[in-house]
C-alpha cells in the first residue's frame, strides 16, 4: 500500500476491484464503512456479486481478465471530460514530457507498440523514450498540448476505449460503466480523494502488472497519489507478505529491493555500476543513487566483518542469477518436473494446493530426491506421495516434516499491507515438539556449517563466512537460544567502527539512526536499508503503541513503525502544490510552514517545488516525477487490453494481437502435455476464476484444521448463474465435476444470481468461480481449484494467471 489501512476512512470514493475486501480483508471494512458513513461512495467491480458488493453503493460486473479494458475506458472518460488534475500532473508526473517521434502505438500497429520482435517475443524499447536536451534533461510541453507529449499520446491511445467498445469486451452494461467512471472521475479536483483496494484479482493475470499500471495512471491523472484517502493500495493476502517481500522472498531481489546480482556482474563495483539508476537532472534526487551504500551495508550484515574492501566485503559469496535466468515460481516447478532440481524446502507453504496447475506441481515433487516441509499441520505437499493418482511404491522422494510454531507462539515482527512493522509477543509456548522457525534455521545453519568444516565441499564460504550473531555462542560455536531482537537489530544495522557524520561521532556498536547514515566504505551494516530506523538507540520502534494522532488524519506516527523512516503515506510531497500548500486543507498529510515540513515524514525533506535548490517529488525515479509513460514495463509504456491465455472468444476485439505478446509460453512445440491450454474451445466453454472465502485462509491448512471454521464452509463448491445451471441441468446443491485442460475437481453447485451471464461480442458468455482452500488431506472436503488453473505467468513478474481460464461443468453422473 502507498497508504495504509486506517487511511481508507479518508477517501471520498473507494473502488474495490481485483479484490474482495469484505471477505478476505474483513477488518478493512471498519474503515470502508467509516468512509461511507461520512458520505463516501463504495464501488465494487467484480465478475461475481460478493459480500463486498453487498455493501457497495454501486456494483458493476465484468468478465474476468478484462480489467484493462474497463479501466482504459475510465482513462478515456476522464480525459474526454477534462476531469483530470492539470496542475498536479504538470508538477508531479511526466504527462508533459515529449516522446520520441518514432514511437508507435497499438492503434497503428494492430495491438503492438513499436519495436516488437516476434521471434524473440520481446520488445526493443529504443523508441519508448523521451526527447532530451543536450544535458539529458527531458523536453516538456507544460501546456500538455503537443501531440507528442505523454498526455496527448495517452489520450490518443485510450480514445479507442469508448464505453461501447469496453462494454462489448467486459460484458459490463454501458450505463454501469459510465456511472463508475463518473463517480471515480469526480475526484480529479483538489480536496477530493479516491482510493483503490486491489489484490490477486488484478495481479494474477498475464497482464497483471499492467492492470495495476492502468490504475496508477488513473490515480495520477486525478491527483490521487500521495494524498490522504488516495494511493494505490495492494491488500496483501497474508499478514506478513509485505514483510517477506521487503526481506527478499522473491528471486529477483535482495532485502530492500536491491536487485539480485547477475553472473556477469563479477565484482561489487560492477554490481553498483550496472544496477544504479543514473540521471543528469540536478533537480532529481534519484534516491537509488545510494545503491552502493545499501548493498555494501547489506554485505556487512550478511557476512563475516573480517572481510574487507579487498574481499568486496563478501560480494562474491552472494548467489547470482545466470544471464537471462528467470527463477520465478512457475519456472521452479517447470525445472523440477524436468528433474533439474534435487531438493526442495517447502517452508510455510503448500504448493500442491496453492500452485497454479497443481497437478503439475504434484508431479514435479515426485522428481525430487528429497523434500523438507516445514509447517504447522500435515498438508497436500508434505503427503503428496500418497495423494490422488500417486503410487508411493514408484516415488523415491525422501520427505521430512518439521513441525513449527504458529505466529501466536513466537515473538517477532510482522509487516502489514500498510508497511507497518509491528512487534508481537509470544502468547503461548509452542505445542509438543514444534519449534520456532528461527530454531529450525539455527540448527540447519549450524549443522550445514559443521559439515562444510568437517567434510569440505564446493563453495563452503557462502555458509561458513556468514555472520551469525544472534545470541550467546557455546564452546562448540553453537547458539542455543536465538535472540530475535538481535536479528531485528541486525536488520536495522550497526556502526562497525567509530564514524563521524555531519559533525557527530557515532561509536562502534551503536545502532544506525536511519538509512541516510549508511555508508559504502564498510563502516556500517544494515540487513535491510528500508528498515534502518526500525530498531535504533531509542529502542524498538516497532513495539511502540502510542495512539497519538497529531495531524488528525490517522497517521498515528508513534504506533509501531513504518518503512521508510516512519513515512506513513508514500509520495506525500505530491499531496501539496508548488508552494507546499496541501491540495486538501481538511486532510493535510504534509505542509510547509515556517521553513520546514509539518505532518508526516516528507518524501525527501527538500523545500517546496517553487523554491530554488529543491528536488522533484518522486525521489525513487531517475526523472523525479511519476511515470504515466513508463518504459519499465515489458509489454508497453501504456497498458493495452489483451485476452487471457484461455478465453471464451476467438479474437481480441481491440486488435489482431490476442494475448500479451511477450508472455513466456510453456506449451509450445515440444512442450509438456501437462501445460496444455485450450482457448476458444468448445470443450471448455466457460470462463472460470478462483478465490478465497472469509472462513478459510490460503490453502486452508490452518483453517481446515479448525473445526469451527470448517463447519461454516465445509467443502468445495462452484458458483454459477441460474441461467447456466438451467442449460446444464444442474440444481442448487448438486454435486458437479468442473474440468479444465489440466485437471478436474468435484464441487457442490451454488446456483446464484450473484453470477450473471455476460454479453460479449454479441454472444452470451457464462462464468463460474471456485475457491482454492480445500485439499484431499482433510476428509470429505474436496480438492483445490488450482488443479484447473494454467501454467502461464504475467509478462513482468511471472505471477500465474489463476484468475481467468476456461472450464467445463457437468452434473456428476
Amino acid at each position: 500500500m502507498t497508504n495504509h489501512w486506517i487511511d481508507i476512512r479518508n477517501a471520498d470514493v473507494i473502488l474495490i476491484m481485483g479484490s474482495n475486501a469484505a471477505e478476505n480483508h474483513p477488518i478493512s471494512f471498519k474503515y470502508v464503512l467509516e468512509a461511507q458513513e461520512k458520505g463516501a461512495k463504495l464501488l465494487s467491480v467484480d465478475p461475481r456479486f460478493t459480500r463486498t458488493s453487498s455493501k457497495a453503493d454501486l456494483y458493476a460486473p465484468l468478465r474476468s481478465g478484462t480489467d484493462i479494458a474497463f479501466l482504459g475506458g475510465m482513462i478515456n472518460y476522464i480525459i474526454e471530460n477534462n476531469l483530470y488534475h492539470s496542475e498536479y500532473m504538470q508538477l508531479h508526473t511526466n504527462a508533459t514530457f515529449l516522446i520520441n517521434p518514432d514511437f508507435k502505438m497499438p492503434g497503428e500497429l494492430d495491438g503492438l507498440f513499436s519495436g516488437y520482435d516476434a521471434d524473440k517475443r520481446k520488445y526493443d524499447k529504443s523508441t519508448w523514450s523521451f526527447q532530451r536536451d543536450a544535458n539529458g534533461i527531458p523536453l516538456t510541453d507544460q501546456s500538455m498540448q503537443d501531440p507528442n507529449c505523454v498526455l496527448q499520446l495517452l489520450k490518443k491511445h485510450f480514445s479507442r476505449y469508448s464505453v461501447e467498445v469496453v462494454s462489448d469486451i467486459t460484458g459490463t452494461p454501458q450505463e454501469k460503466l459510465t456511472e463508475v467512471y463518473k463517480i471515480y472521475g469526480s475526484t480529479g479536483v483538489a480536496g477530493r480523494a479516491a482510493t483503490i483496494m486491489y489484490a490477486m484479482g488484478w495481479t494474477q493475470h498475464t497482464v497483471g502488472t499492467q492492470n495495476i499500471r492502468t490504475m496508477a495512471i488513473i490515480q495520477l491523472l486525478l491527483g490521487n497519489i500521495g494524498i490522504a484517502g488516495g494511493g494505490v493500495n495492494a491488500l496483501r493476502g497474508e499478514s506478513n507478505v509485505q514483510g517477506s517481500t521487503d526481506h527478499c522472498l522473491l528471486f529477483h531481489i535482495l532485502p530492500g529491493y536491491l536487485p539480485t546480482p547477475k553472473a556477469d556482474w563479477d565484482s561489487l563495483a560492477k554490481y553498483i555500476e550496472k544496477s544504479t539508476p543514473k540521471t543528469t537532472d540536478p533537480d532529481s534526487a534519484n534516491w537509488w543513487s545510494n545503491r552502493s551504500k545499501y548493498i555494501t551495508s547489506l554485505l556487512r550484515a550478511h557476512f563475516d566483518t573480517a572481510l574487507t574492501a579487498e574481499d568486496d566485503f563478501g560480494y562474491s559469496l552472494l548467489p547470482k542469477l545466470d544471464t537471462g535466468q528467470n527463477a520465478s515460481w512457475l519456472m521452479l516447478f517447470d525445472r523440477m518436473i524436468k528433474g533439474d532440481i534435487k531438493g526442495f524446502f517447502a517452508w510455510g507453504q503448500n504448493p500442491a494446493c496453492s500452485g497454479s496447475n497443481a497437478n503439475k506441481v504434484r508431479k514435479a515433487l515426485t522428481q525430487l530426491d528429497w523434500m523438507v516441509t516445514v509447517n504447522l499441520f500435515d498438508n497436500e505437499t508434505a503427503s503428496f506421495w500418497k495423494g490422488p493418482d500417486m503410487n508411493p511404491a514408484e516415488i523415491d522422494t525422501e520427505v521430512f516434516f518439521l513441525p513449527v510454531a504458529a505466529s501466536f507462539e513466537k515473538e517477532g515482527s510482522i509487516t502489514n499491507s500498510g508497511r507497518w512493522a509491528q512487534w508481537r509477543y509470544q502468547a503461548v509456548a509452542p505445542l509438543g515438539n514444534s519449534r520456532h522457525d528461527s530454531v529450525v534455521m539455527n540448527e540447519l545453519y549450524y549443522r550445514v556449517a559443521q559439515l562444510y568444516k568437517s567434510e569440505g565441499g564446493a563453495f563452503p564460504e557462502a555458509i561458513t563466512k556468514l555472520s551469525w550473531n544472534y545470541g550467546f555462542k557455546g564452546i562448540d560455536g553453537k547458539i542455543d537460544h536465538i535472540d530475535i531482537h538481535a536479528v531485528a537489530k541486525e536488520i536495522n544495522g550497526y556502526f562497525l567502527e567509530d564514524k563521524e557524520i555531519k559533525g557527530k561521532l557515532y561509536k562502534k556498536g551503536e545502532l544506525v539512526p536511519s538509512f541516510a547514515f549508511l555508508q559504502d566504505d564498510g563502516s556500517t551494516s544494515s540487513g535491510n536499508w528500508l528498515y534502518c530506523n526500525s530498531y535504533n538507540e531509542n529502542g524498538n520502534m516497532m513495539a511502540r503503541r502510542s495512539q497519538k494522532d497529531p495531524t488528525g488524519v490517522g497517521l498515528y506516527p508513534e504506533w509501531s513503525w513504518c518503512w521508510p523512516v516512519n513515512r506513513r503515506i508514500l509520495y506525500n510531497r505530491a499531496s501539496v502544490d508548488a508552494n507546499g500548500v496541501p491540495w486538501n486543507k481538511e486532510r493535510p498529510v504534509i505542509w510547509w510552514a515556517g521553513g520546514s515540513w509539518k505532518g508526516d515524514v516528507p518524501d525527501g525533506g527538500w523545500k517546496p517545488l517553487s523554491q530554488a535548490g529543491t528536488k522533484k517529488s518522486f525521489i525513487m525515479l531517475p526523472d523525479g516525477v511519476a511515470a504515466i509513460f513508463s518504459a519499465g514495463m515489458n509489454e508497453g509504456p501504456f497498458p493495452e487490453h489483451y485476452e487471457p491465455l484461455e478465453c471464451p472468444i476467438e479474437k481480441n476485439p481491440m486488435s489482431g494481437t490476442k494475448n500479451n505478446p511477450i508472455i513466456k509460453l510453456f506449451f509450445t512445440d515440444g512442450g509438456l502435455e501437462v501445460d496444455a491450454f485450450y482457448s476458444y474451445d468448445q470443450r471448455y466453454p466457460y470462463v472460470a476464476t478462483t478465490y478465497r472465502v472469509t472462513e478459510h485462509w490460503q490453502t486452508g491448512v490452518m483453517t481446515r484444521n479448525t473445526p469451527w471454521l470448517l463447519e461454516m464452509q465445509p467443502s468445495m463448491f462452484v458458483e454459477l448463474s441460474p441461467e447456466l445451471a438451467k442449460d446444464k441441468g444442474i440444481t442448487n446443491g448438486d454435486m458437479c465435476v468442473v474440468s479444465s485442460g489440466r485437471g478436474k475437481v468435484e464441487a457442490v453447485a451454488i446456483v446464484t444470481k450473484r453470477f450473471r451471464p455476460f454479453k460479449v461480442q454479441g454472444t452470451i458468455i457464462h462464468q463460474v468461480g471456485l475457491p482454492w482452500c480445500y485439499g484431499w488431506t482433510t476428509p470429505n472436503v474436496g480438492d483445490s481449484a488450482n488443479l484447473l488453473t494454467p501454467t502461464i505467468g504475467d509478462g513482468n513478474t511471472m505471477i500465474p494467471e489463476t484468475k481467468a481460464f476456461q472450464v467445463n461443468i457437468e452434473k456428476r453422473g
Binding site: P26, K30, R51, S54, E695, N732, G733, I750
Partner: protein, 256 residues
C-alpha cells in the same frame, strides 16, 4: 439495573461470521459436521451448538439485486413466550441485565418453550436440555461485552443500555425493529430491507393459546403436569427411556 440489549445494524454486516465463531469459543460449543448443500449458510439452522448465526438472503426486486445478512439469535423478549410457557421454575429466567438466561439443570425437556417462541429459537441438546443465546450473561455481569459483540469487526453488533442504544439509533434516522414489539425486544435490528425479507415477523406475537396456558391452565395444570411426570417416571422404570432423537433432529438437529 437498567435493561441491557443488543442493537444489530445490518447495514454494517459483511457476514464474516466472527460472531458465530466467538460464541462457540466462549461457550465451549463444539463444531458439528456440516455439508454444503448449495449455500454459504452453514450450519443451515440454529442448533444446540449454534447460539447465533448469520442468515444469507438474496433478494431481487425490480432488477435491484441485494445480498442481505441477518444475525439470528434469541431476541431476549421482554414478554418472553418461552418463559411464560415454561413449567419448570428457574429453567428460563430473567438475568439482572434483563436478558433471558437458562439453567439446564432445571430444564425438564418438555419442549414447550419451542412452541412459545415466536422466532423459532430454542433448541434442545443431546441431553434434551434447552440451548440458546443467553447474551453471555456471565461476561456481561463481569463488565465485559458479549463474545459476539467483542469479535464483530465492523460494529454491526452493539450491546449496552437499551435506552441509550435506542436513542443513538434514532439519531441515525433508521427504523428500529423490536423497539416496542412484545414490550420491547432485547435484540433490536436496524434493517436495510423490510422485516419480511429477513424472514422476520412484522408484528411478532406470542400465540394466543400461550396466554390461555400461562394465565388459566398452567396454574391449574402444574399439579397435573407433575402428576404426568410421575407417570412418565413410572413408565421409565418399567418400560425404559423414550427415544427422543427424532424430536431433537426436528427441532435442533442438522437437517443434513
Amino acid at each position: 439495573m437498567e435493561r441491557k440489549a443488543f442493537m444489530i445494524d445490518t447495514s454494517r454486516c459483511i457476514a464474516c461470521r466472527g460472531c458465530q465463531v466467538a460464541c462457540k469459543q466462549w461457550n465451549k460449543l463444539s463444531a458439528e459436521s456440516a455439508v454444503n448443500s448449495g449455500s454459504y449458510e452453514n450450519p443451515p439452522q440454529l442448533t444446540s451448538h449454534l447460539y447465533n448465526k448469520i442468515e444469507f438472503v438474496e433478494t431481487d426486486e425490480n432488477g435491484e439485486f441485494k445480498w442481505l445478512f441477518l444475525n439470528k439469535r434469541c431476541l431476549h423478549c421482554s414478554e418472553a413466550g418461552c418463559m411464560k410457557v415454561c413449567p419448570s421454575v428457574g429453567a428460563l429466567y430473567r438475568t439482572h441485565d434483563g436478558l433471558v438466561g437458562f439453567n439446564k439443570e432445571k430444564c425438564i425437556g418438555c419442549n414447550y418453550c419451542v412452541n412459545g417462541c415466536p422466532f423459532d429459537i430454542p433448541r434442545y441438546d443431546a441431553q434434551n436440555k434447552i440451548s440458546k443465546c443467553h447474551g453471555c450473561f456471565d461476561r456481561v455481569e463481569n463488565g465485559l461485552q458479549p463474545a459476539c459483540v467483542k469479535a464483530c469487526p465492523t460494529g454491526t453488533l452493539m450491546f449496552g443500555d437499551r435506552n441509550e442504544l435506542i436513542t443513538k439509533a434514532k439519531g441515525t434516522g433508521k427504523e428500529i425493529y423490536g423497539e416496542t414489539a412484545l414490550n420491547g425486544l432485547g435484540v433490536m435490528y436496524l434493517l436495510d430491507n423490510k422485516p419480511q425479507d429477513y424472514n422476520l415477523a412484522v408484528n411478532p406475537t406470542i400465540p394466543t393459546s400461550i396466554f390461555l396456558w400461562k394465565d388459566v391452565i398452567k396454574p391449574l395444570g402444574i399439579l397435573g403436569f407433575w402428576g404426568s411426570v410421575g407417570v412418565a417416571m413410572l413408565h421409565y422404570v418399567t418400560v425404559g427411556p423414550k427415544q427422543l432423537e427424532e424430536d431433537v433432529e426436528e427441532k435442533g438437529g442438522n437437517h443434513e
